[in-house]
């Protein structure tokens, strides 16, 4: 979605237009939910975080800086909420990585589910800073520059964090035999 479109919708949201807010919700619900899901490894928690994110967005339109891009704002809120949620549920410690069951049948769906579960298990073994950049890069498809905007860190740091994260993730996946 273009920045102009986002801006128009946000202007309408600030004026209390619920339909405009629902349009933003339609656009961002799935990526926000998936961001939270990858950070938290729980659909229930991701659902709650997604709900919190959109309520915060709705309540704080007044403080949104229009010079910033909306996506960087909403994903930053999503990541912060996810990290806060992890703290609440005492999941900050990396989880033990267990070998992923091999696919029991030829069904593509099962393979896809196993791939997703295996990658998710590996993701949960790395620190949240690293997990964050992997999620932004690989599951949301952001560029270095966009990740830099979302995390408010220099691009150079984005690169070094991402490259380290990949190495750690590769090691984790290797331990499960997935890579």
């Amino acid at each position: 979605m273009s920045r102009t479109d986002d801006t128009k919708l946000i202007e309408r949201c600030i004026e209390g237009d619920r339909q405009a807010f629902e349009s933003l919700l339609v656009l961002y619900e799935k990526p926000v939910f998936n961001t939270a899901l990858r950070m938290l490894n729980s659909r229930d928690d991701a659902r709650d975080v997604t709900q919190t994110v959109f309520l915060k967005v709705f309540e704080n339109f007044g403080s949104f800086d229009p010079s910033r891009r909306f996506f960087s704002w909403i994903y930053r809120i999503t990541l912060n909420e996810s990290i806060t949620w992890l703290g609440k549920s005492k999941r900050l410690e990396p989880l033990q990585l267990e070998a992923v069951d091999e696919a029991k049948g030829p069904e593509q769906e099962l393979q896809s589910a196993n791939l997703s579960a295996g990658v998710q298990a590996a993701l949960m073994t790395i620190k949240t800073d690293y997990r964050t950049v992997i999620v932004l890069k690989h599951f949301l498809g952001f560029s270095y520059s966009e990740i830099s905007q979302i995390l408010e860190i220099p691009e150079k740091k984005v690169k070094s964090r991402l490259y380290s994260a990949r190495q750690l993730l590769k090691d984790a996946l290797t331990r499960t035999g997935m890579h």
Partner: protein, 253 residues
């Protein structure tokens, strides 16, 4: 010998499509000469390919509705009033409505889908009947957040009317029973916004609704004199009660 950090960085940048022509040529030259570099580059490409094959998951189907239902009253007040004003007064929107004045101790079965095409298309008559009490006040509200049912039910009041405002999503067909303790209160009508398919039946002291999917509708209860009452809501899925809630109207307190 370990791969130099410089080339590791270039491999990552190349995978991400964020590498310039000069750097790309430099990387290619390195890979041509280094078996170790090629192996590492392949591993990196495999990793990224694995990550990119992970499919995004669909959010729970009711999540969007749940979020919209959870918006703060201060921001939604205008909208909520607007809905009721729409249901009560605006003739431009399509909706199904019926007012069954005088339904006391008798069973009424209403299929809103049928009504919308027949007797109540002329909404101006509807306006003439109940347009005055558009200034409704929110009395109380309950939220439902189950795996298969989500949304809100609000109780509003106006002069001699109580209005149950249902804003719900149900994955499967459900029934909702609304019992009111004061049996002198009677079912006075039903209106539905932009949808059909909700079935309403009324008898003394009780209204039963059947619905599925996303629905927004209102049930009107005549409450002459503004008497106290408690409305007990029971949500049934397959005949089993899956949720209960209460809405209280107590102006005397």
């Amino acid at each position: 010998m370990a791969t130099e950090q410089k080339y590791t960085d270039l491999m990552n940048a190349a995978i991400d499509g964020e590498i310039g022509d000069v750097e790309s040529a430099e990387l290619q030259s390195y890979l041509d000469d280094s078996a170790e570099g090629r192996a590492m580059n392949e591993q990196l490409a495999n990793l990224c390919s694995t990550l990119d094959r992970v499919e995004a998951e669909e959010p729970p189907p009711h999540l969007r509705h749940l979020i919209m239902s959870s918006l703060s009253p201060s921001k939604t007040a205008q909208e909520s009033t607007g809905l009721l004003q729409t249901l009560l007064a605006a003739p431009v929107l399509k909706y199904a409505a019926t007012f069954a004045a005088g339904v006391v101790l008798s069973l009424t079965l209403v299929n809103s889908g049928q009504i919308s095409n027949t007797a109540f298309d002329d909404v101006t008559k509807l306006v003439g009947t109940v347009a005055k009490p558009v200034d409704t006040g929110l009395v109380s509200s309950v939220s439902i957040n189950l795996a298969d049912i989500a949304g809100t039910v609000s109780l509003r009041n106006t002069a001699s009317m109580l209005i149950l405002d249902f804003d719900l999503f149900a994955k499967r067909p459900i029934e909702i029973e609304a019992d009111y303790t004061d049996r002198t209160i009677w079912f006075n009508g039903f209106a539905q916004l932009e949808s059909s398919g909700t079935t309403v039946s009324a008898q003394a002291g009780k209204v039963t609704l059947a619905m599925q999917g996303k629905r927004r509708y209102a049930v009107y209860l005549h409450n002459e004199g503004g008497r106290n009452t408690t409305i007990r809501l029971r949500f049934l899925d397959g005949g089993e009660v899956v949720h209960e809630a209460r809405l209280e109207y107590a102006p005397d307190k």
